[in-house]
Symmetry: C2
DNA sequence: GAGGAAAGTCAACAAGTGTTGGCATATGCT
DNA sequence: AGCATATGCCAACACTTGTTGACTTTCCTC
């Protein structure tokens, strides 16, 4: 078999290591997710993990690679922007566990926290800037508080009333909040 | 010195251990906060920590002892309830680092997560029940998402736009959200 | 002051961590 | 075939962790 092909053997194990890493990091956090456990999940020797990714930190960096893939908010009217954004975020959260990895680890790992800042401030702020909003950074931050708080309570802390919400329920509750953070004039504090 | 007095020597070191533990747990999370580091902060031998608290888990349990001390919401009109609650929570957060300890650790430590559930669902829900609200658990959960998300972004992840908010700013922005979660009729999802 | 408990120190253990180098195996090319 | 390279496993390392037991010092009571 001539190996210009994409399907090399090593690529498969590389990928299975990454999958196992994501699961473990997401379930246990950075410190408690051990290389040995990840290797066991991938049915492989711990040394292989080092061979392929160099170190635990680099493996984590690979596992936490992420892009929010924001929808273009200029297409939707301001009053629906909140609901569109919430639905996008919740669905994104549900389909991809990378965000859960990031959330679990960002609390104790500075590199993960930095990436979180990049994603939620660094990607949201310019998007709002393009939509010609005032105070785009503050609005991005506020939306991050509600979105991350929801994810924290739903996926990490498992608050029953929040876990029990359907996607539609969540959108119906959170949508207006996000809309207000997007559209409300900056409150003047006396 | 007759030792019926309250000021025994051991009580002081006990307290200094607890203070150091709170700081370390709050700054580093459960796993990275080592007994040795806590002991060093308290200028004491690691063995003393075990002598006084038995184990790391018990020390953590002592350090995470906490009560929200909710204000009585029956006194305030519904329209201001959100602002009152937010102001109370933010101030509580600012004055006492126990909540930060809890937040940092709850993400990886199941015992801390359980306590978080007790505090935010177990204490908030019955308070709303007493105030004769419908769906008290869901409302408690939603308020928890916004409150915890705010704390996460402000104290743990250090999102600059959120760190920069004054207490009054925070109340002005979050107050209406909490009020809506308290008062809005349950959205009907088709 | 003598006796005894309380408070603190020291060194060590057993277990688990990330990480490394050497050695076997298999795989693909000529 | 035979060689070279990629892939994988094993055993060990250096280190840190929570935890323990024996020893010394300090302090209070008699």
């Amino acid at each position: 078999m001539l190996c210009g092909m994409a399907e090399k053997k090593s690529d498969r194990t590389r990928a299975s290591i990454l999958a196992a890493a994501r699961e473990r990091f997401g379930a246990d956090g950075y410190e408690r997710a051990t290389i040995r456990a990840i290797a066991a999940d991938a049915s492989i020797d711990p040394a292989m993990v080092m061979r392929y990714y160099g170190s635990k930190e680099k493996l984590f960096a690979a596992a936490a690679e992420f892009d929010v893939r924001l929808p273009d908010l200029r297409d939707v009217p301001r009053e629906q922007a909140g609901e569109v954004l919430v639905r996008h975020l919740v669905e994104r959260w549900e389909e991809d566990d990378t965000l859960r990895v990031l959330l679990r680890t960002a609390v104790t790992n500075e590199a993960a926290a930095e990436r979180m800042r990049q994603v939620f401030i660094g990607q949201l702020t310019p998007a709002f800037e393009r939509a010609a909003m005032d105070e785009p950074a503050v609005r991005a931050g506020l939306i991050a508080t509600q979105a991350l708080g929801f994810a924290l309570c739903r996926y990490i802390l498992a608050f029953e009333p929040i876990v029990g919400l359907s996607t539609d329920d969540a959108v119906a509750w959170l949508g207006p909040t996000i809309t207000r953070y997007l559209t409300s004039p900056v409150p003047s504090v006396p």
